[in-house]
Symmetry: C2
Subunit: 415 residues, 2 copies
């Protein structure tokens, strides 16, 4: 049995020293880790070769092998990521509000690290350095559990990071990797609430569901996206076509891609043929209801299942509706609470859509593809939360912090 | 088998209409519910008599029976609580920040309801009206699961609230009570993550642990308090004695009462006899380490277990330390992350204590008893969170909200 308690105890022991590091020290350490990753890239690449060979021998598809592959350039990009994180403002220590109570107590809310963060993720080994950088910048200790496919690469990257931290006089246990890849260890990792303050799963729907169902640690759920675009009766057709084309085809495998269209029935006859012609440029299949099919012969018939699908492919569904009410209720029923957009020229409908759609990000006249920590100006992203507690939508550094109340008194007692 | 799915579906169905209610409508409904509770107090009291009889017949202690007991006055207090909630500012709809991105997108963060909130709680039936009021004011639908002891009282209160809501034209399902009191139903309630956005347990350590271990719904943990007061070398003794006396004895059964003292060893000889004399006024037993015992003969010997105890009784532990370093590490090791205080005249130590103690509320020169939503000026409290996600410390109305990003564009697509 892999000793998870020992890992938990080491993380707790490192927590006190990491929590109170000043921003300057943290940035220097991030820079030192970045240099070390580049200096020792040969060592990391050698480990990666083992993962790649193992993957090919077990018949992994080349697309997935590519996700696993490291190169000099990719290691340099990893290092640059850390340098960029070093350049971001440190959210730790900010006092968000401080007010005097009638009894003279001065009560403020101070931004502090979460403590120990657990991250459980799948293939890409670059997540290893990235997750470390974001957690470390915010004064947190991190315990990582990567996928078994990338185990050798992850071990090598974590070794380099730990040694670089030690060389700058900091606790190496600011980052630990769970090296055992069996299922019981993964299950045990999700039950370490005596050591870990927050668990963040990054990966496919199956991984996220397993974590949500089994963890006793508070989880930040990062999720799937069945993102809708509603083309209202008053939409500018050119704008609608450009936005749908962008949201569907600019990158198909991402959670903020558009998967579902909702079309006002009064414009279906005119709009659907234009849409079909535009999406034909990328051979996108449109699956629609009866009215959508009647408006455009290339539309194939959608089943009930299509309304809830996250295709991650060159397929999109199209549902016609009688107006804003039906659009809102349809979207709130089938969406995954990620990103939803309306294309309209109508003021009242734009406001109703913003108010009544239940999702992390709601757009008027823009592509859903903008739901992203970098696009939102956070300078970094640890994931996109589709849950409602703590953080919702793209999560930057602030999502990795909590607050504590600090209270200045001069002898106050409660009457 | 009790039909939890039906309850979940009804809650989801009510969610859309409750989420978008204006503040005026919500306040009127709260006032209407308050009047109805008073008008129909006879009905509620009759139901309460059944619970009280059942409790006495099964040998419940009178102290606990009193927690269960309703009177005209207590129902009036319940109604006044709702009127007070009606008078609070509505946090829903506030846009927390809105900034323009280089591409012209205007991105803001809007405060919105969580959706469906589950609350699982023990005896006191007044929690029923209180929890409804806070959830409803913040546009949330609530599903309540009270203790079996109070089932008749809770049914009567919920019936009155539902009928009052209906009479004002609102969805009665804004509040539902799970009337079945068996354990499988409670366990099933904790696994309703397809319907419930957040689950808040209110009650003893056993209930909270069961929820944390078994829920697949995001939980806000409200917790126990092993609160410390550190009397530093430079403490004003008079202030220290007043604060400790207040924090220990003003109300012994609450989570923000002081349970543990940490005393600088250089002042132990002078301070301990004064402390013992002061606490003797309320017959408080002091359990200390060797140095504390040497300083004051009435101190009994503490065991390792005492350092972590939440007594909720006229008992306090006293540990001597060599200074601020040992005080901080002792407290961070044994505390429950609730409320901790330092009594000091030393600037550097006050700042180190505020920075390095890991707790929801950290005090300089004040009683830990102030950790409370009303004392902090929130005007209401749904509980005190001892976890780090979403809300930490006393939770007012804002803790029952989340945010969504609203984005105004004019045709932006991602490059």
């Amino acid at each position: 049995m892999y000793n998870l308690d020992e890992i938990g105890q080491k993380a707790k022991a490192a927590e006190a020293s990491i929590r109170t590091l000043g921003c300057g020290v943290k940035n220097q350490a991030l820079e030192a880790v970045a240099s070390e990753l580049i200096d020792r890239s040969a060592e990391i690449l050698a480990a990666n070769v083992m993962d790649i060979e193992h993957a090919r021998n077990s018949g992994m598809k080349e697309g997935l092998v590519d996700r696993l592959l490291l190169t000099e350039d990719r290691i340099r990009a990893m290092a640059e990521g850390l340098t960029q994180i070093a350049g971001l403002d440190d959210p730790i220590g900010e006092v968000l509000s401080m007010k005097q109570r009638p009894n003279g107590l001065l009560i403020g809310k101070k931004r502090v690290p979460l403590g120990v963060i657990g991250i459980i993720y799948e293939s890409r080994p670059n997540v290893t350095a990235d997750a470390f950088g974001l957690c470390f910048k915010t004064g947190n200790v991190v315990i990582l559990k990567g996928g078994s496919d990338a185990i050798n690469s992850n071990k090598a990257i974590v070794k380099v990071i730990r040694q670089a931290l030690e060389a700058t006089g900091l606790a190496a246990d600011a980052i630990q990797l769970i090296e055992d890849t069996n299922r019981e260890t993964a299950a045990g990792f999700m039950r370490m609430n005596q050591y870990i303050d927050v668990l963040i799963p990054r990966g496919g729907a199956g991984l996220i569901k397993a974590v949500v169902e089994n963890s006793n640690i508070p989880v930040i759920e990062t999720g799937t996206g069945n993102c809708h675009i509603f083309v209202d009766e008053t939409a500018d057709f050119g704008m609608a076509l450009d936005i749908i084309y962008n949201a569907k085809t600019q990158r198909i495998g991402v959670c903020n891609a558009c998967e579902s269209l909702v079309i006002h029935e009064k414009i279906a006859d005119r709009f659907m043929p234009l849409l079909a012609a535009k999406l034909a440029e990328k051979n996108v299949e449109i699956r629609g209801d009866k009215k959508a099919m009647a408006a455009e012969p290339s539309v194939t018939e959608a089943t009930e299942e299509d309304w809830g699908m996250e295709y991650l492919d060159y397929i999109i569904s199209a549902k016609t509706v009688s107006g804003i009410d039906e659009a809102i209720s349809h979207i709130n029923r089938y969406n995954t609470k990620h990103s939803e957009a309306i294309i309209t020229s109508d003021y009242a409908n734009s406001q109703r859509f913003l108010n009544e759609i239940d999702a992390a990000a709601v757009y008027v006249n823009a592509s859903t593809r903008f739901t992203d920590g970098f696009e939102f100006g956070f300078g970094a992203e640890i994931g996109i939360s589709t849950q409602k507690l703590h953080a919702r939508g793209p999560m930057g550094l602030e999502a990795l912090t909590t607050t504590k109340f600090i209270i200045y008194g001069n002898g106050q007692i409660r009457k």
